[in-house]
């Protein structure tokens, strides 16, 4: 997959994840607190922009490199921290927090979205892997 395709795919996945969390949050406020959330005109764009910025560290940090697996965990931690910085930073820029509690909600949302994106990526990779494994069986050497 080309770099641009991966960037677009990750941007859309992350933006969808944010939208899902925001949707759940606004539904909670509507049904249990009795009021509707109001968004500024730029918020949908902010979700997309956040998705884009979140996909950037992914390109730098998630590629495997030969046999060196030892740095993988460190890369994941770095990736997680960088993304967390992006999400919290974007929250301040786009005024997503009215108080500490709402900042905590965003942090919690991040904790939910992060594994969700990996699960979706894992599921999509499974299809590729299955196809490749079937093809490998036909050319495999006997040893």
């Amino acid at each position: 997959m080309t770099l641009l395709k991966r960037l677009v795919r990750h941007t859309m996945m992350i933006a969808s994840g944010i939208l899902l969390v925001v949707g759940l949050e606004t539904a909670y406020f509507h049904f249990f607190r009795g009021y509707d959330a109001v968004f500024s005109w730029y918020q949908p764009g902010a979700f997309l922009l956040t998705g884009f910025f979140c996909s950037m560290p992914g390109l730098l940090l998630t590629d495997g490199d030969g046999k060196r697996r030892s740095f993988f965990r460190l890369r994941i931690v770095l990736h997680w921290l960088l993304l967390f910085g992006v999400v919290i930073g974007m929250g301040f820029v786009f005024e997503w927090y009215s108080d500490r509690f709402s900042c905590g909600v965003i942090a919690l949302a991040y904790l939910l979205v992060y594994p969700l994106v990996w699960i979706v990526t894992y599921w999509m990779d499974k299809k590729d892997v299955r196809e490749i494994n079937d093809a490998l069986k036909t050319i495999q050497d006997d040893e």
């Binding site: 997959m1 080309t2 770099l3 991966r6 992914g58 998630t62 590629d63 495997g64 490199d65 030969g66 046999k67 060196r68 697996r69 993988f72 994941i76 990996w118 699960i119 990526t121 894992y122 990779d125 499974k126 590729d128 892997v129 196809e131 490749i132 494994n133 093809a135 490998l136 050319i139 495999q140 050497d141 040893e143």
Partner: protein, 145 residues
């Protein structure tokens, strides 16, 4: 076995079709010959110049501008660069990361792991990491896309 030869005008149209009851060693050898990788490459071990049958290669790795060839028997060094070997070895020797070429015939299976990592287990049990950016090329070489 009946052998037919047909002249085509375009390089893209070149190809070979083998129809056989089973994929026996002779057929496998013929496939290898047609794929153009039945040769040997010059390698070195302990200062001794040797030739390595490309069919025995598991993977080739570049470390600090030196190129190492790994087979079931061990590791050899070659003067050839990774990009030169990529052309020399044939279509079933695919780049799997910036510094590595893997012999797809020696891959037992690929595994998708949590965290977006793809691993290949080789026939000797060794695991190597497949860089996601090379998956498309591997699929193309396996005629999957």
């Amino acid at each position: 076995m009946l052998v037919q030869f047909e002249i085509v005008t375009d390089k893209e149209q070149e190809g070979a079709w083998i129809r056989a009851v089973e994929k026996n060693p002779q057929i496998i050898e013929a496939i290898r010959l047609l794929e153009g990788n039945a040769g040997r490459i010059a390698v070195m071990r302990d200062g001794q110049k040797l030739f390595c049958d490309v069919r025995t290669i598991y993977y080739v790795e570049s470390v600090d501008k030196r190129t190492f060839v790994y087979t079931k028997d061990g590791c050899y060094e070659t003067k050839l660069r990774l990009y030169e070997l990529e052309e020399e070895l044939g279509p079933l020797y695919a780049r799997c990361s910036k510094a590595m070429i893997v012999n797809l015939r020696k891959v037992r299976q690929l595994n998708s792991e949590m965290g977006g990592r793809l691993c290949a287990t080789l026939l000797n049990g060794e695991d190597i990491v497949i860089s996601r950016s090379y998956v498309k090329e591997i699929k193309r070489r396996l005629k999957l896309s």
